[in-house]
Symmetry: C2
Subunit: 354 residues, 2 copies
């Protein structure tokens, strides 16, 4: 699949990139100014939390971000009327996917809050979800992720964290189908912890930790949900959320940009199938957090750790949410009320028509 | 303050301790059997999450626990009718406070899931909150916490984690005023991380990390919310939740059991004032997670780390919750949309009549 892109700057200086499966015309440009940062916008900053040895973003401008606006005021829809500017000031041309710098970032370039935050639009259409997109559109999104991941890493960011929040239950403030990217200049706590465990495993065994775990899951089989020739989805042995699913490649791919064309095609199919299964569990679209983890090593081909996706749906049954309450929030120790093998069987049992 | 206790076993073997400010009669005993574990109850187990190098509790019996039952079926109220057994089978005697083993534990004695989970009842009265109790009742609770903490540590548990979930927004399943205790046989992730940072600080400076941070906050003053001669409450410099507050002693107290009588009296006052201020912010009772952290060192008087309480209220404004969405859940990196100094000033400005 070929992906074409058109790079520009918004009028307030933010980066804006449109992506499509056909080339953009030579005279392609914005038709209007679109939304811009307000005059009183304040850059975010980082504070060091000494007790926990971690960084916290303080971003007061985020408190003014739109909160579940009605559809006709969606800031992620293509702009139709200059009186209602949106983030997509392309009223007269069709686009397929886009990435742009977040108006309300937690990380921004500069000494006080290094890093970048981007929004990734999955579709120009307001109604929709990742799983509802065509396989071709999902595969195009994977190319966009590869492009953003490669570009942001090339700019020196240590960890390009791609993610999606889906559903009001996990705190979504805009329903238009989209995800986000945080490009960190440090390695955030959970990624650092996974790297520490992976290095210890590598020293002990000479194998990539994620490869070893994935191969063990495939060989055991009891928690595998979806298998393709190159990509596999499974409920982890020590799942922290009842319907937690991890997706990774059989082959060692430290960074998301390392995935090869066939792997992207298989991954698009796995994502579409997984989300279809999630939506079939309880008869409503399943909310989830989807988090990419990739190597934060300075080695170009980290032998210890490899890219994977983690899905955390917040429901523990049709009408009950799993809360991160006192124990999880206070100690980091997770309690799962369900047996991972049971949940994998439930997900496997939901037939997909594609 | 003197606290008396009456120790017994429930008919299913669970430990049950009643506490009161006056001695129990010599012939004091249960009047009925009360609630017992169902026949199909299964002990929880721990699974090792290799990728994150942490333990996860798998506790399928918890999925059957009561979910916000109506007041007349509250299992934490004193039993009135043997046809409706509760956890407090003392229909004919008054008690003030109690602690008992959780019917649906995430940790239970035994090889497969070492540790213990207890429930701590703050009051026999169903309607009420910690902040609404008298100063004497709160101080009595602090003595109960000291007793449970000392007893569980003496049994060999590495980290006695005392906490409270308040409000449906943080996942409470029973409204009767109560808290919980998890007695771990390992050091859970966040406590371990705080200890690592504390040891590094101690090696560098020769000072307890928590003492240093508390003294810096007191000296700066801009984030202090409540000061007493021995106990101080402040919004931390790098607060992760908008209305996060930490409470600790000015003097070095590695374990909660080390707090002296005047410190308990001051702590009761600080808790009552803090919860009053929280409830005054938005005109409704503020939900929160309250988490104790204490030394997990095997040294009896850990010079590096000391007891403190952390409060995490889930609201970021009157009508918006702070969610632990993709970034927080996927990387452990927190984004706070507010300035800690502003939130401390808001809390300071709420006058308390006591």
């Amino acid at each position: 699949m070929d992906i074409f892109k058109f790079e520009a700057r918004k009028h307030d200086g933010r980066r804006f990139i449109q992506y499509g499966r056909t080339p953009f015309p030579a005279d392609f440009s914005f038709s209007s100014e679109g939304l811009a940062r307000p005059a009183d916008w304040r850059a975010p900053s980082l504070r060091y939390h000494a007790m926990r040895d971690e960084w916290v973003a303080i971003s007061t401008s985020r408190n003014t971000r739109p909160f579940l606006p009605p559809k006709e005021y969606c800031p992620l829809c293509p702009q139709r009327d200059p009186a209602f500017p949106t983030e997509i000031p392309v009223s007269d041309r069709v686009y397929e996917l886009a990435a742009f710098e977040n108006m309300f970032p937690a990380l921004a370039p500069g000494e006080q809050g290094p890093g970048r935050c981007e929004v990734v639009l999955y579709s120009p259409h307001h109604e929709g979800t990742l799983g509802g997109e065509s396989l071709e559109q999902i595969e195009a999104l994977l190319h966009v992720w590869q492009d953003r991941s490669r570009s942001l890493a090339a700019e020196g960011h240590t960890q390009v964290f791609i993610f999606e929040n889906k559903g009001a239950e996990v705190g979504v403030t805009l329903h238009h189908p989209h995800g986000q990217i945080y490009a960190f200049n440090h390695v955030p706590p959970f990624v650092a912890r996974e790297h520490d465990a992976a290095r210890a495993h590598y020293v002990r065994t000479g194998e990539c930790h994620i490869c070893s775990l994935a191969h063990a899951e495939i060989s055991d089989g009891s928690r595998v949900v979806i298998e393709t020739p190159t990509v596999v989805a499974h409920v982890p042995f020590a799942a922290r959320y009842p319907y937690e699913v991890h997706v990774t490649t059989r082959a060692h791919r430290p960074l998301f940009e390392h995935l090869e064309p066939q792997e992207l095609t298989d991954l698009a199919l796995v994502l579409k199938r997984l989300i279809f299964k999630y939506d079939g569990l309880f008869g409503f679209p399943m909310p989830y957090i989807m988090a990419h983890h990739q190597s934060a090593s300075t080695e170009p081909n980290d032998p210890t750790y490899h890219w994977h996706l983690e899905f955390y749906p917040p429901y523990r049954s049709r009408d009950k949410l799993k809360y991160l309450a006192g124990v999880e929030s206070g100690t980091g120790f997770f309690v799962n009320d369900t047996l991972p093998e049971d949940k994998a069987a439930e997900l496997r049992a939901i037939a997909v028509p594609f």
